[in-house]
């Protein structure tokens, strides 16, 4: 384990649960408690808890908050009503990704930006250095913990914790990508809960004061037996998100690669007056991307992982795998890779090199997994 890893407020709780730890983005995080496969399957079938307190919380407020966020992000923040959230990108001038984020509108001029753990410092510095409208930008990451409740029984579990009727957490009453404050429903601990997640399942991401994290974590475990709640680590988090084709910064996204190749045109709003990276992305949009992020099933026996080189039938090197594994729900070895546009159609056959052997891969439509309702 690396030296000087940070620990979240739930570290002791993970230790008591017998978690195995791993270093991630400068943090000592639980990689699994029982087994990755069990935790992954339990998330899809019941409900799991994830400690995501290592992620960052940056608050943007003041009368120029909207202007500031419109400048910094690719998505259209003016479309966010109070109580709504959107996936977005902090782009750089080349159209690459400084980070992928979720922006939550908590009030009139009050926004929460959730950033990746590995980019906390970088994102905050970027935001304050690109703040011509002088919005109030505060990094409150250390004050906040975050617990993700993910799975089909997540809404029922969360409702029970708050002592509320589960009908209040139906998708009609509490839609996906909406965010709500619960100031005193749970032991007077102020919660900010959003119906967002990184697993491809229904669920909530709950932001709360760091000092209350253990209480809520334990509270969920104590009342959750009827829903088969289990804690889940980063190993399962990665297989769940890969099945759902959610990007992982440092793999599918980076400073150097334009976000349109990653398929993030849907969060790039060219009719915004301006934003960092607009000119570069407009040019790429006009001329077309050279490479596209695609999903593959591995046909030959073996597992293809991040970094594996991808070749076409003639033996030419055409790309590199960004993420790959054999995850439990899909049940086959899958991979994501950037490949030239001519190979981006489902059905394309390419080859990934693993330990000197070329394993056949076939392009498939993504996401690999979609929840049924």
């Amino acid at each position: 384990m690396e030296e000087n890893l940070k620990r979240t407020p739930l570290y002791d709780a993970h230790k008591r649960l017998g978690a195995k730890f791993v270093g991630f983005g400068g943090w000592e995080m639980p990689v699994s408690y029982t087994s990755m496969i069990e935790e992954h399957v339990n998330t899809r079938e019941n409900v799991s808890l994830f400690d995501v307190s290592h992620m960052g919380e940056v608050f943007v407020s003041g009368k120029n908050a909207l202007k500031a966020l419109q400048h910094l992000t690719t998505n259209d923040v003016s479309k966010l009503a109070i109580g709504r959230a959107q996936y977005s990108v902090l782009a750089n001038e080349k159209g690459g990704a400084v980070d992928d984020i979720i922006v939550y509108r908590l009030g009139e001029n009050d926004y929460l930006v959730c950033v990746n753990a590995s980019n906390r410092e970088k994102d905050f510095q970027w935001m304050i250095q690109h703040n011509p409208y002088e919005a109030v930008i505060e990094d409150r990451s250390d004050a906040y913990a975050q617990i993700a409740i993910q799975g089909p029984k997540g809404a029922a579990l969360f409702a029970k914790l708050l002592g509320m009727n589960p009908t209040e957490f139906s998708r009609e009453k509490f839609p996906g990508f909406s965010v709500r404050k619960f100031p005193d429903e749970y032991k007077s601990i102020p919660l900010i809960a959003a119906r967002t997640g990184y697993t491809g399942e229904d669920g909530f991401e709950v932001f709360l004061p760091a000092e209350s994290a253990e209480k809520m974590w334990q509270g969920l475990l104590d009342i959750g037996a009827e829903f088969n709640v289990k804690p889940s680590g980063l190993a399962a988090r990665d297989t769940l998100r890969l099945e759902a084709c959610l990007c992982l910064y440092g793999h599918e996204l980076s400073d150097d690669r334009d976000i349109l190749s990653a398929g993030l045109g849907w969060v790039t709003k060219f009719d915004k007056e301006e934003f960092i990276g607009k000119a570069a992305l407009e040019a790429i949009n006009k001329s077309g991307v050279q490479e596209k992020l695609c999903g593959f099933e591995v046909v030959d026996p073996g597992i293809v992982r991040e970094g594996a080189e991808v070749f076409d039938a003639s033996g030419a090197l055409v790309g590199k795998v960004t993420s790959g594994t054999k995850p439990p729900t899909v049940g086959k070895a899958i991979a994501m890779a950037y490949v030239p546009v001519k190979y981006s159609q489902p059905g394309s056959e390419l080859f990934a090199e693993v330990r000197g052997k070329k394993l056949r891969m076939r392009g498939v439509p993504i996401p690999f997994y979609k929840r049924s309702k």
């Binding site: 990755m36 026996p301 597992i303 054999k326 330990r355």
Partner: protein, 129 residues
Amino acid sequence: MQNPTEYRYTKDHEWVQASGKTLRVGITEYAQHELGDVVFIDLPAVGATVSQGKAFSVVESVKAASDIYAPISGKVTLRNEKLTDNPELVNSSPFQDGWIAEIEASDTNELSKLMSAEDYTKYVAGISK
């Protein structure tokens, strides 16, 4: 899970069981626990020559691929085909149903270089601290 007393062990957590001239090999309970869920095994080819201490198979967990080193030198005579469809046998039964291959030993004296169950148990206790 106890380390079976009739096996011999390597520092890299492989075991070898003598049954006549062909010796069955696999990885230990400690190894499977460290690896996590096994999802794929690159089994050695039947007829392949292996050398003590050299990689002859790869066991893949969700996160990573781990080389498995031959505990003795010789020729692979049999591979556990069950592991193709059921790689999880390595986790659930590392000393029995999760065996990896059988090797016809070229020099059974090599077994004396390996640890007894008692020594291996002490060794694991030492590195687990």
